[in-house]
Every structure is written in C-alpha cells, then in structure tokens.
C-alpha cells in the first residue's frame, strides 16, 4: 500500500471530521464561485445591455437640459462629416391607462416610453419581435411593447394603449411585441416604443432626448467628436460611446461586487482556519503512525507528501462541491442585484474560467493550510513518537504564525480573482479589513485565558467542576482554540461590522432627507408641473396643510462637468428651517435664491469646484449663452439628485434662463396637530391629479429598505463564515473529547454522570461562544470603524449597532451550542471500560 492510500485511510478513519472540513472548503469555494459567477454575470449583462441600448451606434449625443436637443442640433449632427446615420429618440417615464381616480384603485408601475424614427433607428438597433410588425412611420399611432410588459399588464397585439402625457392621454394600438425586457436600460422590462412624433406630441416636446450615431467606415470617433464640438453650439450636450455606458453600468455595481468579493475572501480565510486545525489535529493524532513510518524508513519529504495528499483529497472534493453550492448562491445573489438595481444580472453566463479559478483557489488554499501540519509531521522524531506515553505537544499544535502565510496566499489569490469592476479602492479596503481580522485572530490566544475566566465565572456558580474542566480543556491547546475561536470571531465581527455600516448608512440617509426636505409628505409627478398649473394651489388649500413647496431636479453644466441641480423656493426652506449652512448667512442666502442670480452649493460640489460664498458659477445654457450665479451659501447636505447632491437655485432662474418646465416634486408640510384626515385628503387629491403622495417616513423607509436588502445579502454571506466557524467548533470539541476520552473515563469511573460529562462539553462550547461573541463585537466595531472611516461616513452620531451586536451574541452562543451537540453526546457515551483500556 502506498503512503497516499494510507493518507486516504486516515481521512476515512475520521469521517465526520473529514466531512466537516470538506464542507468548510465547499462553503468557502461556494461563496467565491458565486461571487465570480455574479461578476461574470454582471459583465455579460453589461455587454448585453450596452448592445440592447446602443445597438451598433458608435456614439451617442444626449441632451443636457430639459428642453432636449432641438431640430437644428439634430440636423447639425446629421450634416457632420463622417456620420452615416443619426437616429434621434425621445425617452420619458410615464404611466399607462386612465388616471387612477378612485381611492381603492391600484396604481400600476411606470413605463418608459421611447420615441424613435423607425427607419434611422432600425439601422442602428436590432429589435427582435416575438409577434406583430415593426413601426414604419414617424407619426403613426402605433406602439411596440416589451414581452414582459405585455405579460405583466395583459396587453396583446391590437390592444389599445393609453399613455399619460403632458395633457390628454394619447391612445395608441399595440402592433408588435418585442422579445424579453426590451432595449431600454433601467426600465425593468416595462418599455413602450412609439414613433418619435407621437412621443413629441404626447409629452409636448420640441426637442429630442438623444441622437444615436453610426459612423461611416474608416472614420474615427475622436475626429467626429471634435467636429461635433465645433458644430453643436446651440445646446449643451453629453457625448458618450458604448464604452462610456458600459463603464457607468459597471460602476453602479462596483461597491456591491467589491463587498461580495471581500466577504468571499473572508469566508475562504475562515475556511483555511478549519483546514489548518483539522490537519494539525490529524497529524497530532497520528503522530505514532507517522513515527512508525519514519522508523520504517520514510523520508521527511515522503511524510510531507503523505499529509499533503490527504489535503489534496479534501481540497478537490470540497472545491467540487463548492462549485455546485456556488451556482445556487450565485442565483440568489443575481436575484438580489436584479431586485436592487434593476440590472439584469444572470449567473447562467458563468464561464469555465470562473469555475476553474474558484476550483483552483479552493485547492490551493487547502494545500496552503496543509503545509504547516505537513512540516510538523515531518519533524516528528521516530524515537519520541514510539515512546509508551506519547506527549508531543508540538505535533498537536497548529502554529498561528502559519496563518500569516495562509493570509498572504488567500490575499494573493483573492486579488487575482478580484472582479475588475470592483476597482482598486475596493481592493485596498478589503485588504485593510482583512488585515484587521488577521491581527485579531493572532491576538486571540493572549486574550482567551483572562476572558474565558471572566466570562466563565457566572457559569462556575452553577457548574463549577464542568466550568473548570472546560476552561482547562480550552487552554490545553491554545493555538487550536485560537484558530477555532478566531474563525468564530471573524464571522461574528463581519456581522457586527456590516450591521454598523448598514445602520450608519440608514441613519445618514434618514437624517439627510429630514434635513433637506421641507415637508411631512412628498408628492411626486411623472411629468413636470408648470408654475401656471393649479395643482399646487389645490394641494395648499387642503385643510391642515401649512405649506406646499415645489421642487424640480435637473442637470447643470459647469466648466464642462455635469452637476445635479434643484430648483427650490428659498422662502419655504427658510420658514421650514431646512438645510444646514456651513458657509454663508442662512436667511440672506435663501432670500437671494428667490430674487435670482444666486446659487447654494452642497459641500461636495463646493469642494469639487473649489468655490465658496461670494464666488460665481457660470452655467452653460447652449447657443453659446451662459448664466452667472453668485454662490450665496454652502450647505452640509442638499437635495439628492441622480448622481449626487444638487446645487440649489431659485425658481426665477430655473424657469427662466435654465428652462426648467416645472416641478416634479412637491414637499407638503402639515399644520401642527393636523390629524390623519389631512394626510388622507392630500393623498386623495394627489391621486386625482395623477400624482403619487408618500409620507417622508415612507420615502425614508424605502431608502433604508433598499439598503437593508443590500446589507441583508452581505449578512447572509457573513453567516456562511459563522457556519464554517461552527464546523470548526464541532471538529475542535469532538477532537477535545477524543483526546480526553481517557480522562472522561476516569471521571465517569469515580462518579461523574453522563449528563455531567455532556455538560462539560456544552460548558466548553458556551465559554467559547461567550468569548467569541465579546471578541466578535469588539473586532466587528473595529472593522466597522475602518469601513466607515474609509468610506468617509464615520459619524459620531451613528451610534453603536446594538441590534447587530445582539444578533452576533445570539449567534455566538447558539452556534457553538448547536455545534456542541454531537461532541457532548460523544462525551456522554464514553465507555468507561474502553476508555480505561485506552492507554
């Protein structure tokens, strides 16, 4: 029999331990492969989305201002040298069907309407129809809808479709059904394609939203961009390429991918604890056999190979099983990404490369974890090993120093497998967190004895002997206990850290909205409501309503950069006490907005532009015209825009030179003591006007819910780390029982009951859990502080994450208690007679 077969037999001799370790590797590889699968899925979805949205267009000119790109601009684009096709289109969000007027009626979700020039558009975009025909003219009252919209809302070919526009609904007939979710990013599959003139008339527009450009053969995009820059002087615009769009899409999932990759690396790291511990235990247990092998002439290299062969079996089996687990986990993650971002991430696109990487990383980490036990084994002296009473502590103990090597191995492999979209910053953050966790694990053996004594003392009042023996057992091999405990601490710390980060993000979002929105209720409109419309007056007239203030969000171009902006009524914000000023005088600044020619900057914009109170910003308004606004204040937080915080301007400037057609949000403040009747009356009035009213708390709730879903997924991944740690605890406790079987036999012989023997193991697990929970909370707060500090969001007011600490405490106690079940049974079933023969 070769040594490799002996290695296999040794693994088979301890099936539970081998199984648990294999499962630990599988969970690590599972999380890694699902993370890779999701990254690959996101990459594929980015490519597909770019293809769907841009088609074969080489460039896209998008309007910057609400008014869109004028016909003259579109014509200028068409006439530019090197451009073969220019396909203008309009994109607007709206609702379908008649306005919902009855209180009980259920509002449907919004749709995205895209108005196209059928001929030009079809030269750049391929529309796959599952039924019906394509659009032919630019003014026919027809529509194509996506298959998912048809299914969701029950439309078929020939159905009548009513689009809510700026005035009366526009009625169209469905003449074609587009395959799948359709060609519109962010529409969540609810898209309607109509002729461009129909869209123009429905939404009362003159300009178009964008123009997709196909270049003539051999023409470079850079040359055309330069020509466009010379020719397009009427309105500000954004020129982008498919690569820009792809980059934007990738950036939107970068943080998500970075955090997933970080947690995957941590789960793998925790898995490596299990491997180091298990193989060290096996080597210790088999020291006599190893000594025999050495005495019989086996070389040190052969012994090393013998241990590594066992690890290889575990690595291959665990990694293979992990790939299967990864596919399941990946599907769950992709579902989360879809639900959170509307981004069509799939894991079906998982490629062989991702599978191979995850598999190899799993095997490599198992081998890395096995190197130290293998070296231990090679150092066993045949003389010592064959003594009658074997006591070779060095053979049993896993040296923590070795973890540093495993840490480096995992870090290198994780960086190799790091999702490109997650970026270098994410990698730095991950490395920082990862290092904190390693340091905490290495410190564990030093803090374990005093902590175990302190936390075990309440138990000693009830089960003194068991507590003393349990504590002694934990101290018997501190390195092993530290590895076991370290894994638990890492898992629990991640739960606390993620919980704290989530709480800080939720608090920040809630406080932000409360600080900047001058109302208890937010009424949103899908179309701009002009200053001349009666809606604002109608809402203000409702009994119990104190104020209704209109807000519009739009984009501004300053020094060639895009900024979010919002039009507000300064007097309303002044009266309501919103906005926290860092610079400038509050009353004067808000009054100046209403007078015109003034702007208030949010701190990030002020820093980005390097401007302060008294400086001037110059807005590009198209046709070579600019509008200069004096900076009258800098605020800590401003109204949220699409990509950041909005620069605040007054309505006089917004409606006038900037050309904002109307408000898309009304913030409504109730009188003090206004009852639910006022809220109900407002919500009814809003529905009658096809507006959507939501209490601010619900808006805040929606934001925190979305954050909760993101962090919920990360928590689930951190739970995998706790699960892997629990497997390690089962292994360690079971090994403790096996090692002490003789001792337990003696205790039983002199009168210890089965229950006491079992309780001894449970108390050991409980002490482990208590220490783990306390250390997990402390280390978690440390990791959380690092995460919050690096993301610039560490605020004193964030408060400690008591809920997460409580969850970690419950998991810290419940995990080891459950893990102790089998080892405690093992202890209670020790046969006295056999145990005493054990020597």
């Amino acid at each position: 029999m070769g040594l490799d077969r002996l290695a296999w037999r040794i693994l088979a001799a301890r099936p539970l331990r081998t199984l648990l370790t294999t499962l630990g590797v599988a969970l690590g590889v599972g999380v890694l492969s699902s993370s890779l699968a999701m990254s690959a899925g996101i990459e594929a979805a980015v490519d597909r989305t770019v293809r769907d949205v841009v088609g074969s267009a080489d460039l896209r000119v998008a309007a910057f201002l609400e008014g869109g790109l004028s016909e003259a601009t579109v014509e200028a684009i068409r006439m530019t040298d090197g451009i073969e096709v220019a396909a203008p289109s309009i994109e607007r969000r709206t609702f379908l069907g008649a306005p919902v007027t009855s209180a009980g009626a259920e509002a449907r979700e919004a749709v995205t309407v895209v108005g196209i020039e059928p001929v030009a558009w079809s030269r750049l975009h391929e529309l796959e129809l599952v039924a019906g025909a394509r659009l032919a003219r630019i003014d026919e009252p027809s529509a194509l809808i996506t298959e998912s919209l048809a299914e969701a809302d029950g439309y078929i070919l020939g159905s009548e479709l009513r689009i809510q526009g700026h005035d009366q609904p526009t009625t169209l007939r469905v003449i074609g059904i587009i395959a799948g979710p359709g060609p519109v990013a962010g529409a969540a599959g609810r898209a309607v394609i109509v002729p461009v003139d129909v869209a123009r008339s429905a939404f009362g527009l003159e300009g178009v939203t964008r123009v997709d450009i196909g270049l003539a053969d051999g023409v470079s995009a850079r040359d055309v961009a330069e020509r466009l820059a010379e020719r397009l002087t009427l309105e500000p615009y954004v020129l982008s390429s498919p690569a820009d769009l792809a980059e934007g899409l990738r950036a939107s999932t970068a943080d998500f991918q970075a955090t997933t990759a970080l947690v995957a690396a941590i789960v793998l790291f925790v898995g490596s604890f299990l491997i180091v511990n298990t193989l060290s235990m096996t080597v210790g247990e088999r020291a006599r056999e190893v000594g025999l092998l050495r005495a019989a002439g086996a070389t040190r290299a052969q012994v090393v190979r013998f241990v590594l062969a066992g690890a290889l079996v575990i690595g291959i089996a665990g990694s293979a099983f992990g790939l299967v687990l990864g596919l399941l986990l990946g599907s769950l993650m992709a579902g989360s990404v879809r639900a959170l971002t509307g981004f069509p991430a799939e894991v079906s696109s998982l490629n062989a490369g991702s599978l191979a990487v995850a598999f190899l990383v799993g095997v490599a980490i198992t081998i890395a974890g096995a190197v130290e036990p293998a070296i231990q084994a090679a150092r066993i002296s045949p003389v010592e090993a064959l003594r009658a009473r074997l006591d070779l502590p060095a053979t049993r103990r896993a040296r923590l120093g070795w973890l540093a090597l495993v840490f480096v191995a995992v870090a290198i492999l994780a960086l190799l497998a790091w999702p490109p979209a997650a970026g270098a910053t994410g990698a730095d953050r991950a490395l920082g967190v990862y290092a904190v966790l390693l340091a905490a694990t290495l410190a564990t053996p030093f803090v374990l004895p005093p902590l175990a004594r302190i936390l075990g003392s309440p138990l000693a009042a009830f089960v003194r002997l068991e507590e003393r023996l349990a504590r002694g057992s934990l101290a018997r091999d501190r390195s092993r206990t530290a590895l076991t405990l370290g894994a638990l601490v890492v898992g629990l710390a991640m739960i606390v850290a993620l919980g704290w980060t989530a709480q800080a993000a939720r608090n920040a979002a809630t406080a932000w909205l409360a600080d900047v929105v001058p109302g208890d209720e937010v009424v949103t409109s899908i179309r701009p409501i002009g200053p001349g419309e009666a809606i604002r007056g109608q809402l203000a007239a409702i009994e119990g309503v104190r104020s209704v203030t209109p807000i519009a969000t739009f984009d501004l171009a300053i020094r060639g950069l895009r900024f979010d902006a919002a039009a507000i009524v300064g007097a309303d914000f002044l009266a309501d006490g919103r906005l926290t000023f860092i610079d400038g005088e509050r009353a004067a600044a808000l009054r100046a907005l209403d007078v015109g020619g003034a702007a208030i900057l949010p701190l990030p914009a002020a820093e980005r532009l390097g401007l302060g109170v008294g400086d001037t910003i110059s807005l590009a308004l198209g046709a070579g015209t600019t509008l200069d606004l004096r900076v009258v204040g800098v605020v800590e937080r401003s109204i949220p825009g699409d990509g950041g915080e909005a620069i605040l301007v007054g309505w006089r400037d917004a409606s006038g030179p900037i050309g904002v057609p109307g408000a898309d949000v009304f913030a409504v403040r109730f009188e003090d003591g206004a009852g639910p009747a006022a809220r109900e009356a407002l919500e009814t009035a809003a529905r009658d006007a096809a507006l959507e009213a939501n209490p601010l708390s619900r808006v805040q709730g929606a934001v925190t819910d979305a954050l909760g879903r993101v962090f919920g997924l990360f928590d689930a991944l951190a739970l995998v780390a706790v699960l892997v740690a629990a497997l390690g605890i089962v292994n360690t406790l079971a090994m403790g029982v096996v090692e002490r079987v003789h001792e337990i036999g003696v205790l039983r012989a002199i009168g210890m009951t089965r229950r006491q023997a079992s309780r001894m193991v449970v108390v050991e697990a409980t002490i482990l859990g208590l220490v783990g929970a306390v250390l997990g909370a402390v280390v978690g707060l440390g990791v959380g502080a690092v995460l919050l500090f690096l993301s610039g969001g560490l605020v004193a007011s964030a408060g400690l994450p008591w809920a997460s600490i409580a969850i970690a405490a419950v998991l810290g106690l419940a995990g080891p208690a459950i893990a102790a079940w089998y080892p405690s049974r093992l202890a209670s079933r020790v046969s006295i007679v056999r145990a005493l023969k054990f020597e």
Binding site: L465, L469, V746, A749, G751, Q756, I832, V833, L836, E839
Partner: protein, 250 residues
C-alpha cells in the same frame, strides 16, 4: 458477618465483530468487610474484567454481583454512577489524574462531582486526612506533572479513599512503579485496610503485591483456579504465596 461483596457464577462475553471472546466463565467469590483480597493471574486471564464487574464499571453477561447485599449486576447508568461515586473507590495502573487540577483538587474530585463544598467542615478534614495517609503533605498545590510517578499514584489512592468507600478496587496499581515506590503504595493500601478496616480488592500479577492480601484468588482462562488463604500478616512476605503458586503452576 455477611460478605460485603459477592460474585455469583459471573460470565462476561465480548463481541468482536463476528467472533466473541468469553473473558469470564462462571466466577464466584465472596469478600468479607475489612478484608484485603488479591486477584492474581496472567495477562488476559480475566482478572481486570472481574474487577470492573465487582466495581459496577461494567455489567456481567450472566450471573450476579451482590454489593452490600444489593444486586448491582443490572443497575441503571445513574445508579451505577452513584454506586461508584459513593460506595467504591478505584485505583488504576495509569495514575489517571486530571492534569489541570492540583493534588488537592484531584483528591476532592468525587465530592466536586457530587456538587459538595470541599473547602470547609468534614470534607476538608477528610481530604487532609487522606493526604496525611498517603504522605503528601506540603504538595497539595502541586499539579500532577510536578509529582513523581509514585506520588501521582498515591494521589490516586487518596482520591479513591477520600469518600470512605465500602470497597477499594485497585487494578495493577504498582504496574507503572519501581520496586520502592510500589512498596510504598502497597504499604499505604495495607495501612488503610489494617488501620481503618477498609476492604480492598487488588488485581495484580505480581506475587509481592498479592502477598499483602489476606486471601488470593488465582484466575486463569476466565475461571478461579485456586484460592490461597494467607491470613493477615504484617510482614507481607511473599515466600509462602510463591511456594503455593508454584504448586498450581503459576
């Protein structure tokens, strides 16, 4: 006076996969209170198995063990545990001390297991008494690894005696000791028997150890082959026993 411990036609069979081994094949004996009895025989003769049955560590396949008039052959696990904790004391060949407990804690272990406070009153005095008996004064705070082999085994004897058990059962207690320390241990056992009336059942294959006993049962192939009545003898000379053993071919 009725016997304190009796074995009635004990058999014990061990199943080893498809085969089985009959370790005891119908053993009967009786031990009187305060008696020092030795069970002698070669390795594999069944003497340790018999001791385990007599002490409630294991149960016979057939037959009965009567301990102070009570049949303990088929006690529940809890009752057997209580018997071991309160009425028997064990000393094994391996010293079987708990490494992380000191001398005093190891000796007090049966009380600690029973949840009794050993720091005051009678229990404290009893612990001190057995420490004196085994001559370990001044080493109460030592851990097992700080003691010699003989001292460790004396701690095991003290632990077995501290509960004042009805019967002290010792399985090759001198097996790991040299000649001198083995003699010291046997002296301690004999002292407890002769001085305090402790009943002792000793398993040994060493004629010198067995010579401390009042009676010696010779066991071979799972059966009692001979019973040698030496009587109480302060000199513990092994010569008469060796002569008798020679007669039975041991």
């Amino acid at each position: 006076m009725p016997p304190i411990l009796e074995a009635h036609d004990l058999t014990k069979r061990f199943e080893l996969g498809e085969s089985s081994v009959e370790a005891l094949k119908g053993v009967s004996l009786a031990v009187q209170p305060g008696e020092f009895v030795a069970l002698m025989g070669p390795s594999g003769s069944g003497k340790s198995t018999l001791l385990q049955l007599l002490g409630g560590l294991d149960q016979p396949t057939t037959g009965a063990v009567v301990f102070e008039g009570e049949d303990i052959s088929h006690l529940s696990d809890d009752d057997a545990t209580r018997l071991r904790r309160e009425r028997t004391g064990f000393v094994f060949q391996a010293f079987n001390l708990i490494p992380l407990l000191n001398v005093r804690e190891n000796i007090a272990l049966p009380f600690t297991i029973a949840g009794q406070d050993t720091s005051r009153g009678e229990l404290r005095d009893r612990i001190r008494e057995v420490i004196t008996l085994v001559e370990l004064e001044g080493k109460e705070r030592h851990r097992p690894d700080q003691l010699s082999a003989g001292e460790q085994q004396r701690v095991a004897v003290a632990r077995a005696l501290v509960t004042r058990p009805s019967v002290l059962l010792a399985d090759e207690p001198t097996g790991n000791l040299d000649y001198t320390t083995g003699g010291e241990l046997l002296d301690a056992l004999w002292k407890s028997c002769d001085g305090a009336g402790q009943t002792v059942v000793l398993v040994t294959h060493d004629a010198r150890a067995a010579a401390y006993a009042d009676r010696v049962f010779v066991i071979r192939d799972g059966r009692i082959r001979d019973e040698i009545d030496l009587g109480r003898r302060p000199d513990h000379s092994a010569a008469p026993l060796i002569a008798r053993l020679a007669q039975v071919g041991l």
